[in-house]
């Protein structure tokens, strides 16, 4: 990689040269792929805007950030960000990211996907990645439903919601993701809604700079399939709902974070721990001790 090329790709430099009419996040997006596929009122694009701002504010080199997605509406994020990006298989973004990070620990590895992908089909990987405390950042857009396939109920769908596969309403208990992640060992856990864009961008930046397994849940509308079927209005109505019912409680007990159909949504940063060693740091130290000489980490050989 020559200095010349680094300059070409340094987004901050590009940003300085932006015309006034251009959105400052544009250098972080693949504008040739716009318009995106997301519906009017969908919250995923809002989260991507926050993410682009977080990347800018973090001052990290965008050439050293990789985004890994699974399958679903939120799984399409990888295709729109102007970073190294991997659209993987359904549920398996986290193990792909695990290999990527272990091969090149210099990379900031972000997993960006949806609730069905990360918490249901990929739930096992979510638990074990949190257990390892490997330094990957998971952004989970939770629209409470399987959206890409037509609005089927999910492990995150609150009780008594109508979905394509629960025409009489859902009755299964739901997953409280922050609680699950805390139990599994994640060292950074937060939740916001797509109404809380300033807080979300700030938390994303903090997660990008946190060393260890980080998890941000973003409650996000699916006006086409969730809000409409449940007579909860359009995207704007949902923003008003989030504004009214989003209650910030930093450090809240994660056991208290269950989601209901129309109740309050507890938001904030719940966990930020520095006392658990990060996986690669721990491995280096451990093997150095066991080998009696420095562990010369060199997985990237190509």
């Amino acid at each position: 990689m020559s200095d010349n090329l680094m300059l070409e790709n340094a987004a901050l430099q590009v940003e300085e040269a932006l015309p006034e009419s251009m959105n400052p996040v544009e250098p972080f997006l693949r504008s040739e792929r716009i318009p995106h596929i997301w519906c009017p009122g969908c919250g995923i694009g809002t989260t991507v805007n926050c993410f682009a701002r977080a990347v800018m504010d973090s001052k990290l080199d965008p050439n050293k950030i990789a985004v890994v997605s699974g399958i679903g509406c939120s799984g399409r994020v990888a295709g729109y960000v102007n970073l190294d990006s991997f659209h993987t298989t359904h549920g398996r973004a986290i193990p792909f990211a695990t290999g990527l990070k272990l091969a090149n620990p210099e990379l900031t590895v972000v997993v960006y996907s949806g609730d069905g992908d990360l918490a249901s089909i990929g739930g096992n990987h979510l638990i074990h990645a949190a257990r390892r405390n490997l330094d990957i950042k998971v952004i989970c857009v939770n629209n409470l439903i399987y959206a890409m396939t037509g609005g089927q109920s999910a492990a995150t769908t609150p009780e008594s919601c109508t979905t394509a596969t629960s025409p009489y309403g859902t009755f299964e208990p739901t997953l409280n993701l922050p609680h699950l992640l805390e139990a599994a060992g994640a060292t950074f856990i937060a939740r916001w809604t797509t109404y809380h864009v300033m807080q979300l961008a700030k938390t994303m930046k903090e997660a990008l700079l946190h060393k260890g397994f980080s998890f941000i849940e973003i409650i996000s509308p699916c006006p086409t399939l969730f809000q409409r079927r449940n007579q909860m209005g359009d995207g704007l109505e949902t923003m008003k709902f989030y504004k009214e019912h989003g209650k910030t409680k930093h450090g809240a007990d994660t056991a208290s974070l269950d989601m209901t159909k129309s109740g309050d949504i507890i938001i904030g940063k719940f966990v930020e721990k520095k006392d658990r060693p990060e996986y690669i740091d721990h491995m280096r130290e451990y093997y150095t001790q066991k080998l009696g000489r420095p562990f010369e980490y060199q997985v990237k050989t190509c």
Binding site: E8, R33, N82, P95, A97, T98, A103, E296, Q298, C302
Partner: protein, 385 residues
């Protein structure tokens, strides 16, 4: 380029096939393995877990085979040479990611130490029941390269070949071992590092704006880049164009999937490894592979003692199927005898290629042991008539 001497155990050893496979992977440059325990393959990653820290490598035991088979691909895009190992039930779970590797053209190696199936089957006993799964196990049209060793020495040698061909063709490569070969202990000669030829990753030297991750070179294989190199490329398992962007049309599908298949099919002759002996004036040729080829040796010897003209054709490359070599033999013999530790898999490939030029006779065995040489001999005797 020569192997990195740091990881090459040059010398004469007494190793089982699983351990020899691991040493081959290390010699080939593998510094990352992701696995999930399953008999009879586990000794490969047990060895890797022990050897990797000495050479700066990483073994990670994932939570299941789905995770292992995609973690290894993340590691590839981060700049590692990597592999996973498994057996029947685990290989079934990995199938989605064999397809992902084929679609995203991720150079990587899957080792399958075959045991009896279906389902849990015979966890500790041999079979050759995954031959077709290696070829067709994931959905859709794609090609793999698959090699089949019949000794610990070949487990070492062919593992290196698997890694090298994965790079040359940007394709998943499968090493189809079996429980007998994996657990058999024999002499294994590991040459000096400078005598081991290791294929480097074919990385692009194009500038970021000019690089297209799926634009093929003359051999139909695109060049690679790694995450973090400044290219900001996109990889997807969805049908895509040369930029890697989604292209969900029948035209894009036709262009991409035909190329994925053609890059392997057009190289079939270069990828063919067979061992052929005594076929020139033979009436019967025994076509075999893996552990069964060693039982076939005995049957051939017994037949020759009876004065029969018998040759052998051992398939080392299984996929792409060595059509030209099999057809050439079929032209000059009466009968092709195909013993295998399954109820008929490769025999149908042999029959297809023979195309009526020679009679094709299978000698089946459901697994759990190896053939009795007498059973193969009986087929030879009948085939010679």
């Amino acid at each position: 380029m020569p192997a990195d001497p740091k990881a090459v155990l040059t010398g004469v050893h007494f190793l089982n096939g699983d351990v020899a496979c691991c040493e081959g992977a290390l010699a080939a440059g593998a510094r990352f393995a992701a696995g999930y325990p399953i008999t009879p393959s586990t000794e490969i990653v047990e060895r890797f877990a022990s050897r990797a820290p000495e050479v700066g490598g990483v073994f990670i035991q994932m939570e299941d085979e789905l995770a292992a088979s995609i973690a290894l691909q993340g590691a590839v895009w981060g700049g590692a040479k990597s592999f996973t190992v498994t057996s029947g039930p685990g290989f079934s779970l990995m199938m989605e990611h064999v397809g992902y590797a084929a679609m995203t053209e991720t150079p990587c190696v899957f080792v399958d130490v075959q045991r009896g199936g279906p389902s849990t089957g015979l966890p500790t006993l041999p079979a050759q029941g995954d031959m077709m799964q290696a070829r067709w196990g994931s959905h859709g049209d794609y090609e793999v390269i698959a090699l089949c060793p019949n000794s610990p020495q070949e487990c070492f040698d062919l593992t290196i070949k698997c890694f090298n061909w994965a790079e040359d063709y940007r394709n998943p490569v499968v090493l189809l071992m079996d429980e007998c070969v994996g657990h058999m202990t024999e002499k294994v000669v590991i040459p000096p590092a400078e005598q081991i030829d290791v294929t480097p990753r074919h990385l692009t030297d194009k500038r970021p704006g000019d690089y297209l991750p799926f634009k093929p070179c003359d051999n139909l294989v695109p060049e690679m880049a790694h995450a973090g190199d400044g290219y900001r490329f996109h990889i997807t398992g969805v049908t895509h164009d040369e930029r890697g962007y989604l292209a969900v049309t029948s035209q894009a599908q036709d262009k991409l999937v035909r190329r994925l298949c053609d890059k392997i099919r057009s190289a079939a002759d270069q990828l063919t490894l067979v061992e052929e002996e005594g076929t020139e004036d033979a009436d019967v040729v025994v076509v075999s592979y893996g552990i069964t080829s060693r039982v076939a040796e005995r049957a051939i010897r017994m037949a020759r003692e009876r004065g029969l003209k018998v040759g052998k054709l051992r398939l080392i490359t299984i996929w792409p199927f060595p059509e030209n070599r099999v057809r050439a033999v079929a032209r000059r013999v009466k009968t092709l005898v195909v013993p295998e530790l399954n109820l008929g898999q490769m025999v149908y490939e042999v029959e297809r290629v023979a195309g009526g030029l020679a009679r094709t006779v299978g000698v089946t065995h459901a697994g759990g042991g190896v053939h009795r040489p007498e059973d193969i001999l009986a087929a030879i005797v009948e085939g010679a008539q």
